[in-house]
């Protein structure tokens, strides 16, 4: 089973979707139960991965590798190859957890055409998991694109009033980026062929040749930059980085609650994951190029501050949370392009944190919306009087999102800022503004919605959380506390892939170890023993 664990995790949701096709659409109860059972099963089958992965957390290279290169379409060199490292492991666990939570949260929220809804949702789940598992670029691309279709339909069918516009905008925007990426990867494919005489889309194989383009007299810096830009377009749109973020508020506001949770929790992470998995190791010299790097940092900082300022002005709760995502994802990209161990591992951890906190924030907004069918902040006030349990949970998640110490957000943001500070103090000083503003918009929102007396008579009879709703929050709160109180296991999991990245991108970086993750000596000993799949540049 250990050999096929990734395939099992990948296809459990799809199996559920297939089964649902044969359930008549009138039996709503059966559909809900089957969908929830498969979502839970998807989470449960991924749990054995935790101890298994933990045992090999310091081993080099990809783990649980399934399939051999080029076994799918030998004629073009594409293979069904799966495998994970610490980064994808954390994101996969986040995906299975959030997938289950979102499906559970849809129990009463979705009344219309529920069979289709669950079918698309489960298909989406498989698509997202595939993106994080694929070790073949072609396979990755198939999942990356195929996943757009269910998301398009989820927004377009079950969305709000401007759903058609939001859905197509999301689809077109993302497709534009991904076709640019396809062209770039075809270039890498031919480059790899000219270097090695082999046609393959295998990611480890491309890791070997892609970095050489920069130094190749036949192509050189311009080509490498252009290729980096094509990948950047795909990932920056997905993250979304400023100024490619405009699809995000539309999609979030119109999507159904569970769709927003998945969109914010997982889909956006595909962009940051893409930067880490592809942009950095494919083009190490480009990302280290001062011009490129300062642009990336500048865009991240603008996103952090701009997103926070726009959040401050929102009248719609969901839009506020959506813009706060832009700000938080700015931290993640900032960490990536700080290009040191603290920045990178902080960034991955912050991606997980954002999934937990913002996922919870969308659930919180969804719960009020389901009861009152409005998200206008002005409609509310004094909610803590009628829904005390809800108000408490909201407070915890708000604090986690704004980065209060002892909760998860703090650890992520702190590590990123630490990494940034080591590179350039001005960058860190500017980025810190985002933390301050986050406290402002979240606390102000909390004050307006929850404090005071109930002013609107419609809010007097609101029901507090049901057991099912509490259940959706429990795992998120547990995770938030765990990461906040004892993040060491997470950093240990990230240590190996981060060091490997550092070895590729900045082989000369002094002290390539995480001071707060493990003892420097132990860490150095481990890094020394790594036969990396990504060779240091120049070592042919």
């Amino acid at each position: 089973m250990q050999n096929h664990i990734l395939s099992i995790i990948l296809f459990t949701p799809l199996a559920g979707a297939t089964l649902l096709l044969f359930v008549p659409k009138e039996s709503k109860h059966a559909i809900r139960w089957i969908a929830n059972l498969f979502a839970l099963a998807g989470l449960l089958v991924s749990l054995p991965l935790v101890p298994w992965f933990w045992q090999q957390r310091f081993t080099a290279g990809f783990k649980f590798v399934e399939g051999t290169a080029n076994n799918w379409i030998p004629s073009i060199g594409a293979g069904y190859v799966l495998g994970i490292d610490g980064i994808s492991f954390l994101l996969i666990m986040l995906t299975t957890l959030l997938g289950w939570i979102s499906i559970l949260s849809s129990w009463t929220a979705i009344e219309d055409r529920i069979k289709e809804y669950y079918v698309w949702f489960l298909v989406l789940q498989t698509g997202m998991l595939g993106v994080f598992m694929a070790l073949d670029f072609f396979l990755f691309f198939v999942f990356w694109e195929a996943m757009l279709v269910p998301m398009y339909l989820l927004i377009g069918i079950w969305g709000g009033p401007r759903k058609l516009y939001a859905a197509i905008k999301f689809f077109l925007y993302t497709l534009l980026g991904s076709v640019a990426m396809l062209l770039a990867v075809l270039f890498l494919y031919f480059y790899n062929f000219h270097q090695t005489g082999q046609y393959t889309f295998s990611i480890p194989a491309l890791y070997q040749t892609a970095p050489k383009i920069f130094h190749d007299p036949a192509y050189g810096v311009e080509y490498a930059m252009l290729l980096f830009f094509a990948f950047f377009l795909a990932f920056a749109i997905k993250v979304p980085m400023f100024p490619f973020h405009t699809w995000l508020p539309d999609a979030h506001v119109e999507a159904p609650t569970a769709g927003s949770v998945i969109l914010a929790g997982v889909l956006l992470k595909m962009g940051t994951y893409g930067f880490i998995r592809f942009s950095l190791p494919f083009f190490p010299d480009v990302v280290m190029h001062p011009k490129v790097r300062s642009w990336m940092i500048a865009l991240s900082i603008v996103a952090i501050i701009y997103g926070a300022l726009v959040s401050l002005m929102q009248k719609d709760m969901k839009k506020l949370v959506a813009y706060s995502s832009v700000s938080h994802l700015g931290f993640c990209t900032l960490g990536i392009f700080a290009l040191n161990p603290a920045g990178l591992s902080g960034s991955v951890l912050q991606q997980i944190n954002h999934g937990i906190s913002t996922g919870a924030l969308f659930l919180i907004v969804g719960i009020l919306y389901e009861r009152r069918h409005t998200r206008e902040i002005a409609e509310y006030g004094g909610i803590s009087n009628v829904m005390p349990l809800y108000a408490t949970i909201t407070m915890i998640m708000f604090l986690s999102s704004m980065g209060l110490p002892l909760l998860n957000g703090f650890v992520g943001e702190f590590t990123i800022l630490q990494g940034t500070f080591m590179e350039n103090r001005t960058w860190a000083a500017l980025a810190v503004l985002g933390v301050v503003l986050a406290a402002a918009y979240l606390l102000w929102l909390y004050q307006r919605v929850f404090f005071g007396t109930v002013t609107n008579p419609k809010n007097e009879k609101l029901l507090d959380l049901s057991a099912r709703e509490v259940l959706t929050f429990v795992p998120l709160i547990v995770m938030a506390l765990w990461i906040g109180l004892y993040p060491k296991p997470f950093f240990q999991i990230l240590e190996q892939p981060v060091n490997q990245l550092m070895a590729t991108v900045r082989p000369n970086y002094p002290g390539a170890s995480l001071a707060h993750a493990s003892t420097p000596a132990a860490s150095a000993a481990r890094t020394g023993g790594q036969a990396t799949m990504i060779p240091a540049k120049g070592s042919n």
Binding site: E145, A167, I168, L172, L182, L183
Partner: protein, 514 residues
């Protein structure tokens, strides 16, 4: 000089077996139809279908004979026909497209109350024409095949006698088609005048020789011949600026014929284009490559922009098929500008695979439109698709699959066509062209998704359920199975395309590489 005895080979009859079979069946249908009572007309469709199946068996037989002789190509009829894997590939393609189109027609022509035997006979005759075009290695045979196919199609387009749109479409198509055939024939006659031969291999040789003599300065007459021939070819594949007939003809024609035209007729035109431009006029590639770059850019631009605002589905799919031609032309550009052997075949490979996947996904989309046809409803307006999911969930989901495939979303078949075209462009260093092409692919998604959003996200205007007949379901499921199978596991199909090009020995492509 060929002796008289050599002109009559018994193997010629084997090599033209599918052509003969189809002709016999077509004539048989015409005679049977006279004796058939009104309610028995479906027998004609069955006969035509059997004819197609038998013709397929004939092609298999030829392939077998070819394999046994350990040759990859044989000439027939004194070299005016060449039977190679390229020919066989196209023959299979025509027969598959025709079989699905016949399945679509049975129920649809009943709804139109135009169930006549001639319909199927004309379809079979036009396939005979297509087969001659694909196998033709002599410009006279190619031209005769083209005219046979075109004349049958003119009639088929106007087959709905009582429908004014159909009549108008047929007349427009006839006039413009005849005009373009004239230009094409003019170009061919110039070629004959220049080279003194009608055989493509000889034409190629003489042109190469002449170019070498004049230090690569092409003879103005050769350029004129090239331009006129290219205009004729581009008209037949409906590339801008010779595309105006397509939206009208597609809209007016019976829906099953629209499907048939957009796949089989178009594939035949492509076979002809690859033979004539790729083989005969290959020496002039320095002239036709820039020409085709311009044409393909214009085609993608005009078709994608026009498709954005169409409300009639058949028109929309007509523009989309013009746009697809634009992508495919880029494959010819890659072929013409390649220096390496592999890069050359990659462009053509892209076109062949594109035609294969396009056959199924486009026929599937037209089959869904045809299944909506009822006595009083045309069923080809975008409003007729509103809320289709509520009325006919299966059809709606099938249509979604076909549309996504047309848009080129993996893992569906349509993606592979685009993939190989982009691949060949990157391989031949046409980076800017590739960038423009992918940009238009995004445009494409928008208009395909307009249909999808009408089906899934709008309320139904019409609540009557859709009733498709058994044969129609056959057409739909075959298209779906092919679209999914090619999409998820393209390996055997890519091998088939490689086989059809058989790059090392094929006279059409191989001996160019010297």
């Amino acid at each position: 000089m060929v002796s008289v005895a050599q002109m009559f080979e018994a193997s010629d009859y084997l090599m033209s077996l599918p052509i003969l079979l189809l002709s016999i069946f077509a004539l048989g249908i015409l005679i049977m139809d006279l004796m058939m009572p009104e309610e028995m007309k479906w027998v004609n469709a069955v006969t035509a279908f059997v004819g197609v199946l038998l013709a397929t068996c004939g092609v298999v037989r030829i392939q077998h004979a070819l394999d046994l002789s350990h040759r990859t190509w044989v000439p027939a009829f004194v070299g005016s026909m060449v039977i190679d894997h390229f020919t066989l590939y196209f023959w299979y393609l025509f027969l598959a497209g025709t079989a699905v189109a016949i399945l679509m027609s049975v129920h649809y022509m009943d709804e139109e109350r135009e169930q006549h035997g001639e319909f199927y006979a004309l379809m079979l005759f036009s396939v005979v024409g297509m087969m001659s075009m694909a196998a033709g290695f002599d410009i006279v045979l190619i031209f005769i095949g083209l005219e046979l196919m075109a004349i049958c199609t003119y009639v088929l387009v106007g087959f709905l006698r009582r429908d004014r749109r159909s009549n108008e479409a047929a007349l427009k198509y006839l006039l413009l088609g005849a005009f373009s055939s004239g230009i094409f024939a003019y170009g061919l006659s110039l070629l004959y005048g220049l080279t003194g031969s009608t055989n493509l291999a000889v034409i190629r040789e003489r042109l190469t020789h002449d170019l070498a003599q004049s230090q690569n300065h092409a003879d103005p007459v050769a350029v004129l011949a090239l331009v006129t021939v290219a205009a004729g070819l581009l008209f037949k594949i409906a590339a801008v600026p010779f595309h105006q007939w397509a939206p009208d003809a597609y809209e007016g024609a019976p829906t099953s014929i629209t499907g048939f035209m957009s796949v089989a007729v178009k594939a035949a035109a492509w076979a002809m284009l690859l033979r004539v431009l790729g083989m005969g006029l290959y020496p002039l590639r320095l002239i036709w490559v820039p020409l085709l770059i311009f044409v393909s850019l214009a085609t993608m631009t005009a078709a994608n922009l026009a498709a954005l605002t169409q409300n009639n589905l058949k028109r929309l799919l007509a523009y989309s098929s013009i746009a697809h031609v634009g992508y495919m032309l880029l494959g010819v550009v890659a072929y013409g500008s390649a220096i390496e052997n592999a890069a050359m075949t990659d462009g053509v490979k892209g076109i062949l695979l594109y035609l294969l996947v396009y056959t199924f996904m486009n026929l599937g989309a037209f089959a869904v439109i045809a299944s909506l046809r009822r006595r009083d409803v045309i069923g080809d307006d975008i409003d007729d698709f509103a809320g289709l999911f509520a009325r006919a969930p299966t059809e709606a989901v099938l249509m979604l699959v076909f549309l996504l495939s047309l848009a080129g979303i993996p893992p569906l078949a349509g993606f592979w066509g685009k993939y190989f075209i982009f691949l060949s462009l990157i391989e031949t260093r046409h980076y800017a062209l590739a960038a423009v092409a992918v940009l238009y692919a995004v445009f494409g998604l928008y208009y395909y998704m307009r249909i999808a959003s009408a089906m899934f996200m709008r309320q139904a205007l019409d609540t009557e359920p859709v009733r498709a007949g058994g044969a129609m379901w056959g057409a739909l499921w075959v298209s779906l199975a092919a679209t999914l199978a090619i999409g998820v596991y393209p390996e055997p199909f890519i091998r088939m395309v490689n086989w059809s090009l058989n790059a090392t020995q094929n006279p059409a492509f191989a001996n160019l590489i010297k």
